[in-house]
Symmetry: C2
Subunit: 294 residues, 2 copies
């Protein structure tokens, strides 16, 4: 099958490599061409625009940065849906808004194209290992057709319902992550401040009722002083903002997420937008340090 | 060895049963005598006061409700330390304040008794199975002597340092739990409100970067409508209050814990003090329901 691939960042490049390895013909576009080089060397066809990808591929996958990027990729003047051609199914895997997912689904339908919103979780490690989890919303038939391709880079693909349902499921994931992050970071701050052995704390807390993926995987990075490896703060701020906006739209109050979102806005404001989410530790530490000097 | 046991609630009774099974002579006291019946039938000696326990036992363990109860047990007029006798080591396993742990350690020292603060995590299931984790502070030599007894009901015993260090480690645990609870509950609220299959959400979120013990163990109880099984809200409110007070005392700002503590004060105020911590779901749902009726 001819597969289109738009977005070859850390996640996208690793995922597309699995598709390429399985023997599919790849048609690739990325804003920064250099990041697609490995795929092109491996035989992928470089395209000059999303439209050109849509003209050549049966199924187009995208994983880019922000909802505005997604909108450009599909609905822009040189977007996938601007040109007629091969494309029967589009699959956006960016963590974006359910509202945009529905808008794209409607626009696609008008052109006889089926649309899926299919954000992923599992990080760069999951992308490299091909063990991502994919949360899918949109046309059920298109889901069944795209499933064998998604399984090339995933160990769990779940269908949640119509357009936007995949994005809603991803929002649940990010809401849960937000909670585990504040809990983990404040527990570590407390541990350091009270002079406890941080590794012993991670060992005990991480294996019991206070345990979380964040405690087991990101707290050790804080101990090592590694604030670069992991998921970008600016993307997390975006994801939490989407969840809050969608919750607000249906009259759902999420006080915890709201505070955590604002704290991450502060993390970003302190210059850590392109650092990993465990940088919350640095930002919260800065709230307390003045007390140390008294 | 003669073992004293004060506090035979859900946790204490199950833990003491493991000690009894191992062949130790037990001297038991509990505010409500009936709750010690199974142990007494099994051969434990009933004592009329903590002082009587202290007179007869080499090592006294306690696990009661609140710090004021702990203070009464050890420093009260008929407390363990009020009478001279056998007792060489006291081990309080209640989740209590590091400040009280230090106070008891000083009072014990004056009477030639060694003290440990050794709160546990792992819940009623861990107590029954004998797989609790114990976080220990206090005299190192006393820790080594008490260790074989603690191992009868634990799978992990960690020494964190001098008096109060066990309580500080437990505070880390509860801070982390607080984060996982708000994340899990708000994710579930969002899932229901957006019409997603809650079990599919737990399955995907629980196995990825948003995963936590709370998501995997307590979210399914929300789906079943079970708000009784688990850890009491009123105890959790107490634990978070202790952590906040101790953090404040060393100039540490914990904005996440502070909000979550206040939300749990509301859960308790709504009449769920003796319900399990997943009741946060009910309380937060009540914030949003009015929007449903518009």
């Amino acid at each position: 099958m001819n597969i289109g691939w738009i977005g070859t960042g850390v996640m996208g490049a690793a995922m597309a490599a699995h598709v390429q390895k399985a023997g599919h013909e790849l048609f690739v576009y990325n804003r920064t061409k250099e990041k697609a080089e490995a795929l092109v060397k491996g035989g992928a066809h470089w395209c000059e625009s999303p439209a050109e990808v849509g003209k050549n591929a049966d199924v187009v996958f995208s994983i880019v940065g922000f909802p505005t990027d997604v909108e450009g990729v599909y609905l822009g003047t040189s977007g996938v849906l601007s040109a007629r051609g091969q494309c029967k199914i589009i699959v956006d895997m960016t963590t974006s808004t359910p509202t945009l997912a529905k808008k794209i689904a409607r626009a696609a339908e008008e052109k006889g194209v089926k649309s899926l919103d299919a954000p992923v979780t599992g990080g760069d490690i999951g992308a490299r290992k091909g063990t991502l989890a994919v949360m899918v919303g949109g046309d059920k038939e298109a889901y069944e057709k795209a499933l064998p391709i998604m399984e090339l880079f995933s160990s769990k693909v779940t269908y949640f319902g119509g357009p936007g349902a995949g994005q809603h499921a991803k929002a649940c994931n990010q809401i849960s992550v937000a909670g585990t992050m504040i809990g983990m970071v404040e527990a570590m701050l407390y541990a350091y401040k009270q002079g406890l052995d941080p590794e012993a704390v991670i060992d005990v807390v991480g294996s019991g009722a206070g345990g979380s993926w964040s405690m087991n995987n990101l707290a050790p990075r804080i101990v090592k002083g590694d604030y670069k490896s992991g998921f970008f703060v600016e993307h997390f701020v975006k994801d939490m903002g989407i969840a809050l906006q969608e919750a607000n739209a249906v009259g759902l109050s999420l006080p915890g997420l709201s505070l955590i979102h604002q704290l991450y806005v502060a993390v970003k404001a302190q210059g850590h937008g392109r650092s990993a989410t465990q940088s919350l530790f640095i930002a919260l530490k800065s709230l307390s340090e003045k007390e140390d000097t008294k």
